[in-house]
């Protein structure tokens, strides 16, 4: 079938629809050459006004002039708005025109409505986008602009006012062409609709899709529409009306200029999106309840707030006011009630924050049960008769700040982790009861501060963990306005109470000063005269009071004096606080008490100190509950200690392993000990010099010499305990280089047993452990040394001879190549000497031995050769026979 035939065969409706599609495409293409929208700014100095004409892809007109004006108020340049939309406009319109042209032609599988839908939606998308940028430009003003304007709204269609400018905004021919194209396509779609029942489902699905699209667009625009409607709703309401807001987000700022109640039930949010004050109440008697107010501006100049109250008797209850610069700004609004709200400031550094609650000239205000976080102050100026109760303030500068506010009640509040808990300035007649001032740290960290304030009565407050609990500066101004502090608790503060010098007229009685690092301080030094520390025979409780009281008495018999030397020093020289309560400071304090001449003059005296504290009033925290789960750490420490002592506290069992073997064994025919030109001197005094020695394996050499001849020194040199000059080899191992390896081959017995308070077995096991010898060798070694059955005796229960036998057993247990015996029998009785010599004589057959001695029987029993050492002489080597002959000669010489 050719094209002409097919065209003829098609119904006229289809041909008409194709024509409409082509026309719509042409209109879309034409719209590119015409403006879509226009905005005119009219002002006295611009008689013809300034015009900005918006095409699909560009903005023309008085753009430079408008940008110049916008610069002053902080509106962004027009060229910077909608950049991507303008870049995409031409390709998008060409694509839409192509879609329109082919919308009703049978060119593919896509049904016509899919092609029609984007073209029909295009005008709506354009309007939504334009609305967005108008809103963006007028609300995101440059904060550094020369002129400060409150954020404003430029209408999409119609007139508006910005400063002295009037704006007229509306669509232009290009937009009308878009609308016409959309209408033509919708007509074409209607013409080509199917009449067959089978297509009902398809039609329904199309309708659904269209409905979803429209609903989506509406949902995007809904908040704006809703926000716009809230102000209208409020404006339209009758005075005294109660407006219950449905859950949702409403756009601020909102101004309430007539008395009405706005109820949110906790789910209605008024969001100012960073512009100005969220809600301004200018009508007396208005109420805000259960609302969430958020997103104020951040201008300190304009005092952007969550809620600003400028009328009397307004109540704000149960609201959550967050992300705001100022929380509630109450100005000239007597009788205001702020109750049960939560205030959370913007996350700004302290210097840039606003006050979460500020009352200015608003008498009889009630601030009750609120929670304030992350603000600057809660401050009351000139607000006489106000009541501040049950609030919790954390993370602020001043938890509470009173300026010229008289006759107020401050009760049951908690101030925690602020710079200052409460600072009362230039105010009179206040009652401060049952508050908690906790953890106020830093250079100005103070629980409660008073400056030039009088007739203040503070009862039952708790000051805990502050740098200074109470600070009094020039209060009261006149003695008749005396302040009273009764039944308060000052505990764990760095300074309990600090006063400026010259402060007079305060009465502090029945307070408890518990565990403060410094109980009382005077800034800069001086005495605290003119203040009362007791009344009616009752003073204060001082945890460091060292006096006593008669049985049953409540008051101590000795006055309490604040006269600590180091504390007084810290008052005048704050840098010395670094040493406060160190052991050194304690020693200084003790010295001052021992020698009263150094004692500091008492800062204050409490003549009637209480022996027991008066419990604080209603501000008591619950008693701590033992957290038994936390026992794991201390119990674990205890268990580990016990196990380690039990396991390691006894002697460690040796490893069942012996690394001894053929390694390093002397080769047959090579000397076991070889010394050449050995010299040793102590402090210039020669012990021996040029000593040479050679001991072959299996040989026993006796070192003979008088006391001080250097026998023991030579032994220590052989063991590597001491250094000496010359060459000294043991089994080919240079002792000066690796004495440890040499000692592995040596068993050593000193002339006097030196050991620990062990049993014989423990002593042997220790040697086995150190030398890596199997402990099975112990029994045989003890037997060979005549210590069978002595295993369980302690070393100190053994006789001298037994001890030497034990020393020999210790030397032998590792089966060493060489035995060094330093006068082994010198301190023994005859019987023991004989026994030990008998053992040594047996060992002589299998060991290389070097024995020091000055007993002839030992030489006779053991020596193969004798090396005769004489002090400051060279050594002489002799055979035993020649040695004995020489000895005999010496004896005869002496007799003669």
């Amino acid at each position: 079938m050719n094209t002409a035939e097919s065209a003829e065969s098609r119904p006229p409706r289809s041909r008409l629809a194709e024509a409409l599609g082509a026309a719509a495409g042409a209109l879309l293409l034409a719209s590119l050459f015409l403006p879509y929208w226009q905005a005119r700014l009219l002002a006295p100095q611009y008689r013809n006004g300034l015009t900005a004409t918006m095409y699909a892809y560009k903005v023309t007109g008085d753009v430079a002039e408008i940008d110049g004006l916008n610069h002053y108020v902080g509106v962004a340049k027009l060229a910077k708005l909608g950049v991507w939309e303008r870049r995409l406009a031409i390709p998008a319109v060409l694509f839409l025109a192509a879609l329109s042209f082919f919308a009703f032609r049978k060119t593919g599988r896509w049904p016509p409505w899919i092609k029609v839908l984007p073209v029909a939606a295009y005008p709506l998308i354009f309007m939504a986008d334009l609305k967005f940028w108008l809103h963006y430009a007028s609300t995101n003003l440059d904060p550094t602009a020369p002129l400060k304007l409150r954020p404003f709204i430029i209408p999409l269609i119609g007139t508006g006012k910005v400063g002295q400018f009037r704006s007229e905004v509306g669509p232009m021919p290009g937009f009308y062409l878009l609308m016409a194209a959309a209408i033509l396509l919708l007509i074409g779609l209607w013409l080509t609709r199917s009449r067959e029942p089978a297509c009902t489902a398809k039609a329904a699905s199309r309708s659904c899709a269209l409905t979803i699209l429209v609903a989506g667009i509406l949902s995007i625009c809904a908040p704006w529409a809703q926000a716009q409607s809230l102000q209208e709703l409020v404006d339209a309401a009758q005075p005294g009306a109660v407006l219950e807001l449905a859950p949702g987000v409403y756009e601020g700022p909102l101004i309430i200029a007539k008395p009405l109640s706005l109820m949110g039930a906790g789910r209605a949010v008024i969001d100012s999106r960073g512009r100005g004050t969220v809600v301004t109440v200018r009508a007396p008697g208005s109420k805000l309840e259960g609302l969430a107010l958020r997103g104020s501006g951040d201008s300190l100049l304009y005092e952007d707030s969550g809620v600003r109250i400028e009328a009397a008797s307004v109540a704000v209850r149960g609201c959550r006011i967050e992300d705001v610069l100022f929380g509630a700004f109450i100005s000239n609004a007597p009788g205001t009630i702020i109750e049960g709200n939560v205030f959370i400031g913007k996350p700004l550094e302290l210097g840039r924050r606003g006050d979460l609650l500020r009352l200015w000239n608003s008498d009889r205000a009630v601030v009750r049960d609120n929670k304030l976080e992350r603000g600057r102050d809660m401050v009351l100026w000139f607000s006489t008769g106000s009541v501040v109760t049950g609030n919790t303030v954390t993370g602020a500068r001043y938890g509470l700040h009173f300026m010229y506010t008289n006759g107020a009640l401050i009760k049951g509040n908690v101030f925690r982790h602020n710079s200052v808990g409460a600072y009362i300035m230039y105010s009179r007649g206040l009652s401060i009861e049952g508050n908690r001032f906790e953890e106020h740290r830093g250079p100005s960290g103070t629980g409660l501060g008073l400056k030039e304030s009088g007739l203040v009565q503070a009862f039952g407050n708790v000051f805990s963990g502050n740098r200074q609990g109470l600070f009094i500066d020039q209060s009261p101004l006149v003695p008749e306005d005396g302040n009273e502090f009764i039944g308060n608790v000052f505990m764990n503060n760095d300074i309990g109470v600090a006063l400026m010098p010259g402060v007079r007229g305060n009465t502090l009685v029945e307070n408890a000063f518990e565990d403060n690092i410094q109980q009382v301080s005077v800034r800069g030094g001086g005495q605290l005269s003119g203040n009362q520390w007791s009344r009616g025979g009752r003073g204060n409780y001082w945890s460091d009071y060292a006096g006593y009281g008669r049985p049953g008495a409540e008051v101590g018999a000795v006055p309490y004096r604040a006269d600590r030397l180091v504390e007084r020093l810290a008052d005048t020289r704050p840098e010395t606080r670094f040493f406060l309560y160190t052991p050194a400071a304690g020693a200084l304090e003790a010295a001052a008490r021992a020698f009263p001449v150094f004692k500091a003059k008492a800062l204050m005296t409490d003549p009637h100190p209480l022996l027991r504290p008066r419990p604080a009033g209603g501000s008591q925290a619950p008693a701590p509950v033992p957290a038994l789960a936390a026992l794991w750490l201390p119990a674990g420490l205890l268990s580990l200690s016990a196990v380690s002592v039990a396991m390691l506290g006894r002697q460690r069992a040796p490893r069942p392993f012996s690394k001894r073997g053929a390694n390093g064994r002397p080769e047959h025919g090579r000397p076991m000990i070889s010394a050449k030109d050995l010299s040793k001197a102590y402090a210039g005094r020669s012990v021996f010099s040029g000593l040479s020695l050679c001991i072959m394996p299996g040989e026993c050499v006796v070192l003979w010499g008088s006391n001080g001849a250097g026998k023991s020194t030579l032994m220590r040199c052989l063991l590597g305990m001491e250094s000496c000059e010359g060459r000294l080899l043991l089994a080919g191992c240079d002792i000066s280089r690796d004495s440890r390896l040499a000692r592995e081959r040596i068993g050593y017995v000193s002339q006097e047993f030196a050991g620990y308070d062990w049993t014989v077995r423990q002593a042997m096991e220790f040697i086995c452990s150190v030398r890596s010898v199997d402990r099975s060798a112990i029994a045989g070694t003890l037997a060979s040394c005549g210590l069978t059955g002595e295993d369980d005796k302690t070393v100190f229960e053994l006789s001298g001879g037994m001890k030497q036998k034990l020393a020999l057993a210790q030397a032998l247990v590792a089966n060493p190549d060489v035995l060094l015996l330093d006068e082994p029998c010198s301190n023994l009785d005859l019987k023991s000497r004989r026994e030990l010599l008998a053992i040594l004589r047996e060992l002589r057959r299998t060991r290389t031995m070097l024995v020091t001695s000055h007993h002839l029987d030992e030489v006779e029993a053991l020596a193969d050769r004798v090396l005769w050492l004489e002090e400051s002489r060279s050594a002489v080597e002799l055979s035993p026979a020649r040695f004995l002959a020489r000895i005999e000669g010496c004896v005869q010489e002496e007799r003669a």
Partner: protein
């Protein structure tokens, strides 16, 4: 670890745990600590936390007893062996001098660790039962800082002991060091601060010259959570070091430990056989 080193370490641990000195110190430490924590009974009934005289006194107790205990243990470790002539016996065994030194240090150190564990464990159990132990991490931190302080003082004791011929001589030297660290150093600095108005930064820097001051900084930082309790020097520490204070103080203590250990080891290894009069 060689078998000899292991055996000697175990022997040293056993000897130190049996020492009456150590037992006496730990008993005194526990008794005083328990007494101090019981004094704070009324305070805790009010729910008060924070850093008070009791806490300061507990830190002082550690500053007084733990260095004394560690210095004494260290000073006796080598000098008593030399005095009893058992050092000669040890030196005749196949052990390097450095092995003997490390065995002494590790054995005594382990015994001190066990003793401190027992003391902190006992105190901790009492504190938990009284509801006074709020933060286990802080308590554990204090324990480890105390162990580190004990390790430094033990090394100082070994340094005093390494060349002393007699135990009394070494103990005397250790007591002198203890007096210098605990009293004389701080008193001298306190006097200087008053006389010439030392700047807070200088006072703070001087803390690194005394391991006890570093421990105090660590303990107060952990327990008080704010160093302004130490006045201008504390504020200076907070502002200038901020979160680096803890690592810097720990690094200071570690530097003390390694420096003193190196000096003590060197002194022992190069010491003449009989020690120095």
């Amino acid at each position: 670890m060689s078998p000899g080193l292991l055996a000697l370490t175990a022997k040293e641990f056993a000897d130190t745990t049996r020492s009456r000195w150590l037992g006496g110190f730990i008993l005194a430490f526990c008794a005083l600590g328990l007494g101090l924590s019981l004094v704070g009974n009324w305070t805790s009934s009010l729910g008060g936390g924070g850093f008070g005289r009791t806490t300061a006194a507990l830190i002082n107790l550690v500053l007084l007893i733990v260095p004394l205990m560690s210095l004494t243990a260290g000073s006796l470790a080598l000098s008593s062996e030399r005095e009893r002539r058992t050092l000669e016996f040890l030196l005749s065994l196949p052990l390097h001098r450095s092995e003997i030194f490390w065995a002494k240090y590790m054995g005594s150190g382990a015994a001190l660790l066990a003793a401190l564990g027992a003391a902190f464990g006992t105190l901790g159990v009492v504190l938990v039962l009284r509801g006074g132990l709020r933060d286990l991490a802080v308590y554990a931190g204090c324990f480890f800082a105390t162990v580190l302080l004990a390790a430094v003082c033990l090394a100082l004791g070994l340094l005093a002991s390494s060349r002393s011929r007699r135990a009394a001589q070494a103990v005397g030297l250790a007591l002198f060091v203890w007096l210098c660290l605990v009293f004389a150093g701080d008193l001298g600095l306190l006097g200087t601060a008053v006389a010439v108005r030392l700047r807070p930064a200088v006072l703070l820097a001087a803390a690194w010259l005394n391991p006890l001051s570093l421990y105090r900084l660590l303990a107060i930082d952990a327990l008080a959570a704010d160093l302004d309790v130490l006045g201008p020097a504390g504020l200076c520490a907070r502002d200038s070091l901020g979160s680096w204070l803890k690592p810097a103080a720990l690094a200071g203590l570690l530097a003390w430990l390694l420096g003193v250990l190196a000096a003590a080891r060197s002194a022992f290894i190069t010491a003449p056989f009989g020690g120095k009069a």
